[in-house]
């Protein structure tokens, strides 16, 4: 293909195949996943906004049971993890495998710390009698933070995988997912703990 000169640019665009996704770092399939995840969490947070507008009293009363300090701590942990992941990408680009793996390892440990804090929070809520079906606020709280925590687990698996197969492409792709997990947490934290 690409024999006609007039259509040369267009043809080049077709043969790269991914269209607008070609310009993004890492594997384009990862960006399709990232966009899908953002859509799902976006829809969930929009649903939260509507449910809250319908019953503001219940939501602020329930929200008072969350501990903003734990939320803030987890935000700091995950963002710090993200810094190390970004460092790993830089090292991978420079071709330094050892440093890449070390930085991914540190990012991984921060991810585990996030899960530890989150599990501690859940245990506290459950001990106080606030479960998945207590009310709409807690249903959404457990679903959204639980779904996010599942992504942290999945993200850790991806980090482990790209630490083993530490090509530049793989590390960039894996860290793109990990940064999405940060990004979503920042939004979840603001909406559930602060607003």
């Amino acid at each position: 293909m690409g024999d006609g000169e007039g259509a040369c640019n267009e043809a080049a665009e077709i043969s790269s195949g991914w269209g607008p996704l070609s310009a993004l770092p890492g594997d384009a399939m990862m960006w399709i996943l990232i966009i899908s995840e953002l859509a799902v969490f976006g829809a969930a947070l929009a649903g939260y906004a509507v449910a809250r507008a319908l019953d503001p009293g219940l939501f602020s009363a329930s929200q008072a049971h969350l501990d903003p300090f734990s939320g803030a701590l987890n935000t700091a942990i995950l963002l710090t993890s993200g810094v190390f992941a970004a460092g790993a990408v830089r090292q991978a680009r420079a071709g330094v495998i050892r440093a890449t793996r070390r930085l991914i390892g540190i990012a991984f440990l921060f991810g585990l710390a996030f899960l530890a804090v989150k599990v501690g929070e859940y245990a506290g809520h459950l001990a106080d009698g606030y479960g998945l079906e207590t009310n709409t606020f807690f249903t959404l709280y457990y679903l959204v933070t639980g779904f996010h925590a599942a992504h942290v687990v999945f993200g850790l698996m991806i980090l482990a995988l790209v630490a083993v197969f530490a090509s530049e492409e793989n590390v960039t792709t894996g860290c793109a997912f990990w940064h999405m997990v940060d990004l979503i947490w920042v939004l979840v934290f603001a909406v559930f703990y602060l607003s």
């Binding site: 293909m1 267009e10 077709i14 043969s15 195949g17 991914w18 384009a28 399939m29 399709i32 996943l33 899908s36 859509a39 799902v40 829809a43 969930a44 649903g47 998945l132 079906e133 249903t139 959404l140 457990y142 679903l143």
Partner: protein, 449 residues
């Protein structure tokens, strides 16, 4: 036709089309029962006719998928089918099961679980046929070239068989019964069937537009990712009112709202391929069916599905004619058009001649699709009125049905149009004109790999 064993596809397509004719005939009878409720009430009660209408639909669509697989897998894998004889045996098993089920239904022999009414022996027969099929196509793919299209098609077809196994499990707890029932019904049409759809559409685009395989593959994988990402947890939109915990309302609403994405991606895919494609394929009718497939699936499954998928809306519309409107256009767009597209594409090859009766075939497309669109609109209006009278005002079901008579008459009329369209299609495909020899038209357009 590049491989002799592709020929078996033709037998599948013939059986599929015969059942298609039966399906719409029973549909017409049902449409008439809606306006004249005592019609055939002793001989063929509504529930029995409905069983045949829905079962025939599902079986002929599956036969079409099997035929499509037998047609396109040898071509993609670049090798003869592992065993054409097994393919014939599988078809015989399926047809014996299907006719046995229909005859049984007429004598009131059925298991009464909507869409899965087939007696146990038929279900087991289906499982055996599915195993034969999977064995046959998997071995064919394994010995030949593996492409994205064969990978996705195999994944979808394996999924169809695996999820059908839940049809054999019927717990006495009604909530669990319904939960597993949806594993078959939902995960078929909003999960694994979508993979089959994407794979067949990808094959059609490759052949009809001449776009590079590399580009088609990327679209295919993206669409499949979107379909599974949204469709699997989207099952939750059936778990709102069956006795499952309330959080399913959130899971179902959020994920199923996004189920429109893969259907939209398929519309963009097919149209972009046709625009960018640099080759004129002589089979215009197959192209029309392919574009109609993605477009009407987007409206029927995507838009009409979204219309009542959010839990607070579904609370009012559940089980009204809105559902019937969605069901008709979604099945028609996604799977009927898909099968008619591959049949329209493959039949000239299977008969070893240039595309024939194209204008008639395209007229059938417009008549059938126009009829189905009109049916969707009338049922949607009926459903909205029904929702208001019955669910908001609290009037009795049958009183409301009486007030919907005008819509049901119009639906019957649109049903007549659809059946006429089907008859024209069958004539166009099954009764080729005498061959008109046009030099240079006989060779198939070779896609740029």
């Amino acid at each position: 036709m590049k491989y002799q064993s592709q020929k078996v596809a033709a037998y599948y397509f013939y059986c599929a089309m015969a059942l298609f004719a039966a399906q719409v005939t029973f549909g017409l009878v049902l449409g008439y029962i809606y306006v004249a409720p005592n019609f055939l009430s002793e001989l063929l009660p509504f529930n029995i006719a409905r069983m045949i209408h829905t079962n025939a639909l599902i079986v002929w669509l599956l036969l079409g998928f099997f035929g499509a697989a037998y047609y396109l897998i040898p071509e993609e894998a670049e090798t003869e089918l592992h065993s054409p004889k097994l393919a014939i045996l599988q078809l015989v098993l399926l047809m014996v099961g299907a006719s046995g089920a229909v005859v049984g239904y007429l004598f009131r022999v059925h298991e009464g679980r909507e869409f899965l009414e087939q007696p146990l022996w038929v279900k087991l027969g289906i499982v055996v046929a599915a195993l034969i099929f999977l064995y046959n196509i998997t071995l064919t793919v394994l010995k030949g070239r593996k492409t994205a299209i064969t990978n996705v098609l195999l994944l979808g077809l394996w999924g169809i068989a695996l999820f059908f196994l839940f049809a054999l499990y019927n717990p006495s707890n009604l909530t669990l019964d319904k939960m597993y029932w949806w594993y078959v019904v939902h995960i078929w049409v909003e999960g694994v069937w979508e993979l089959v759809m994407a794979a067949i559409l990808a094959f059609m685009m490759l052949k009809l537009t001449g776009v590079d395989r590399e580009v088609v593959d990327k679209w295919l994988y993206s669409i499949v990712a979107l379909a599974l990402f949204t469709g699997l947890l989207g099952t939750g939109h059936h778990y709102y009112w069956i006795g499952t915990p309330g959080y399913w309302q959130w899971i179902g609403s959020i994920f199923s709202a996004l189920e429109v994405a893969p259907f939209f991606a398929m519309v963009v895919f097919t149209f972009v391929m046709v625009w960018k494609g640099r080759r004129e394929h002589p089979n215009k009718a197959a192209l029309l069916w392919s574009l109609g497939c993605s477009t009407l699936a987007f409206f029927g499954a995507g838009v009409w599905g979204f219309m009542h998928t959010l839990a607070p809306i579904n609370y009012y519309t559940h089980g009204t004619q809105v559902t019937a409107a969605h069901g008709h256009l979604a099945f028609y767009g996604a799977y009927v058009c898909l099968n008619l597209a591959i049949i329209t594409y493959a039949m000239p090859h299977l008969k070893n001649r240039t595309p024939y009766n194209q204008v008639l075939n395209m007229a059938a497309f417009w008549l059938m699709s126009g009829g189905m669109a009109f049916m969707t609109f009338t049922l949607t209006f009926a459903g909205v009125v029904q929702t208001h009278l019955q669910r908001v005002n609290g009037e009795y079901f049958m009183d409301v049905q009486d007030q919907l008579a005008l819509f049901f008459w119009m639906r019957f009329g649109s049903g007549v149009a659809v059946v006429l369209g089907v008859l024209i299609f069958l004539y166009a495909v099954l009764v080729p004109r005498k061959e008109v020899v046009t030099p240079g038209m006989k060779t198939e357009t070779v896609p740029a790999e």
